[in-house]
């Protein structure tokens, strides 16, 4: 083959990628240097003192461990529920005929237009009346509700590649719809469920607006981060540490799964054609 890979894209994209790396390097540098050196510029080389003092201070001054667990609980609940329920809804919409089917589906899949800002005030009043403020449910319910706008369609599109013959075979063998769903379709939608789960976990872990308004004692990491950065103290080292703690889990998940995001949904149902 003739020379098909030129050199210049590597240099061009390498310099673009630097812009993406520098803020990360900056936040790591700020988290391991004393405040006194940061205010002269985190990028300065001399003098360089390595310290984990900021990590200790964040731990002592703020309930950051608890915020981590709160984030974990909120994101886990808000992820498990759509992963369990979206395939059921997708199955019903895809394979069953029932009254109001089309209008329900249209309302559901077009709810992606609803911004978080629309739900905050009515839900705040509702949660206050029901005594749900500062409980996980106050954020999990809207997170789960908003997720169905995209998760049901994602699984439903996945089902449209699912071999029809398997469903028909199950029906011929005497499976009802519930059994077909649980034993034939559900085990084969794991790829779609994983996609829903990863996207939803990242989105709920990272969001600020709803937890900021509905949670107080049970603040999540982004809320804690916004509190720490809202102080007027010179605490740049501590802000950097909190930023790293907030980002580390989604970043690991993201790097681990990034190659699957672009991969097309092949299903391994064992059926040809």
């Amino acid at each position: 083959m003739i020379n098909q890979t030129p050199k210049w894209p590597v240099f061009v994209l390498g310099s673009v990628a630097v812009i993406w790396i520098v803020p990360l390097v900056g936040i790591i540098a700020m988290s391991i240097r004393p405040e006194g050196e940061i205010v002269n510029g985190w990028w300065t080389i001399e003098p360089f003192t390595f310290t984990l003092e900021a990590w200790r201070e964040v731990w002592v001054n703020y309930p950051i461990g608890r915020a981590f667990l709160n984030s974990l609980a909120v994101a886990s609940f808000a992820t498990i529920l759509p992963v369990l329920f979206a395939p059921a809804a997708a199955y019903a919409f895809h394979y069953l005929k029932f009254p109001f089917r089309r209008i329900l589906l249209l309302i559901l899949v077009n709810a992606f237009v609803v911004p978080n800002q629309v739900v905050i005030i009515p839900l705040f009043k509702l949660w206050r009346e029901m005594g749900l403020i500062d409980t996980y449910w106050s954020v999990v319910i809207p997170f789960v509700g908003l997720s169905f706008a995209w998760s049901v369609l994602l699984v439903k599109n996945f089902l449209s590649n699912f071999p029809r013959s398997l469903i028909d075979a199950a029906q011929v063998d005497g499976c009802g719809h519930l059994r077909t769903y649980f034993f034939i379709v559900l085990p084969n939608t794991l790829t779609a469920m994983a996609a829903v789960g990863i996207l939803q976990f990242m989105w709920t872990w990272n969001s600020l607006l709803l937890p900021m308004l509905f949670l107080r004692e049970n603040a999540t990491l982004p809320v804690m981060l916004s509190t720490i950065s809202g102080t007027y103290e010179p605490n740049w080292d501590q802000r950097a540490v909190a930023t790293i703690i907030t980002s580390i889990l989604p970043l690991i998940i993201f790097l681990f799964f990034q190659k699957y995001f672009s991969a097309d949904g092949k299903n391994n149902s064992g059926s040809k054609g």
Binding site: Y95, L96, F98, V114, V119, L255
Partner: protein, 317 residues
């Protein structure tokens, strides 16, 4: 397709234990299969109704009330909307929203698309750079905002530091504290988090181009630039299109990044409609007024998504 099959499947259902109740509820039209359908849908519909539909209708209802939180709500007709369009601050928010969404969407898609095209020429060698740009998409806006303070902070931020080192001290500026530059500082940080998405969608479209097509062009003597311009660019347009929509909607709805970096200031120069709503309803307790501005935001999102809504209408058979 699915409808035809569905009718075959549902025709073989028999009356179940709840058929009696169902018959009474739906006048005899509800079969056992319908019951199963609603049982499968129930959790989705319950969460969706409480978490989305109820707040949606409640916001629209409140936008027609004169309600400041402490007072008793009074019916107010369209007065909140009339007040809104006579409010200089709201017009400012509309103007900021326009600049913000166009800049964020345009720059993110431009960067993402360009990177995807260029890396299409050397996919293997540029893989780590794509991962680096894409990874920022996984970091929260709150954390990304703080990372960008390390660049934009006036005293020890990298940008001013570099300007001082290269002798351009006069150009150093409190980027986020200056009304004329603050919005561009927030745009830069937001684009940093959002460019990964167009990169992903465009690169996927480029990967889908058959290898033989590009090899044939090489054989015919096409240069790298010609392959990029006449094969990859046009064939990646579906990826560009979907990225434009997603980034447009994301930036219209943006809140976290603005909240963490500037909180709408200085002098409302970064206050989009999505942030104006928060100020009016949460900070100033003007519920009816805030709700009216939220409805305007919702309408803006709906108008921008009309092509997507039409897509989904045909897709959701």
């Amino acid at each position: 397709m699915s409808v035809q099959h569905g009718s075959i499947l549902t025709s073989q259902t028999q009356a179940g234990p709840f058929a009696g109740l169902a018959t009474r509820l739906f006048g005899g039209n509800l079969r056992r299969a319908d019951w199963i359908a609603f049982a499968l849908l129930a959790p989705t519909l319950i969460f969706f109704s409480i978490g989305v539909l109820y707040p949606l209708f409640e916001t629209i209802r409140v936008s027609f009330l004169d309600w400041t939180g402490l007072s008793q709500p009074k019916p107010a007709g369209f007065s909140n909307y009339i007040k809104l369009f006579n409010d200089a601050n709201f017009w400012n928010a509309l103007r900021v929203t326009l600049t913000w969404t166009l800049a964020c969407t345009g720059i993110s898609v431009f960067i993402g698309w360009s990177v995807a095209l260029i890396s299409g020429l050397a996919p293997k060698q540029t893989a780590p750079f794509r991962v680096a740009i894409f990874a920022a998409y996984g970091i929260s806006e709150t954390a990304s905002g703080l990372m960008w303070l390390g660049i934009l902070q006036p005293d020890f931020g990298l940008l001013n530091g570099v300007l001082r080192i290269v002798g351009l001290e006069g150009w150093a500026s409190p980027w986020l504290g200056e009304p004329s530059t603050a919005i561009w500082g927030v745009v830069a940080a937001y684009v940093w988090t959002q460019a990964g998405l167009p990169l992903l969608t465009c690169y996927a479209a480029i990967q889908a181009i058959p290898k033989s097509q590009i090899e044939a062009a090489h054989m015919d003597g096409a240069t790298h630039f010609q392959i990029l311009r006449y094969i990859m660019a046009p064939l990646s347009l579906p990826g560009v299109r979907i990225a434009i929509f997603i980034n447009l909607l994301n930036s219209l709805k943006a809140f976290d990044m603005i909240h963490i970096l500037t909180a709408g200031g200085p002098i409302r120069s970064t206050e989009t409609v999505g942030y104006f709503m928060y100020q009016e309803s949460v900070v100033y307790f003007k519920q009816g007024y805030g709700a009216a501005s939220t409805v305007v935001l919702l309408l803006a999102v709906i108008v921008c998504s009309i092509p997507l809504i039409l897509d989904k209408a045909s897709e959701s058979k």
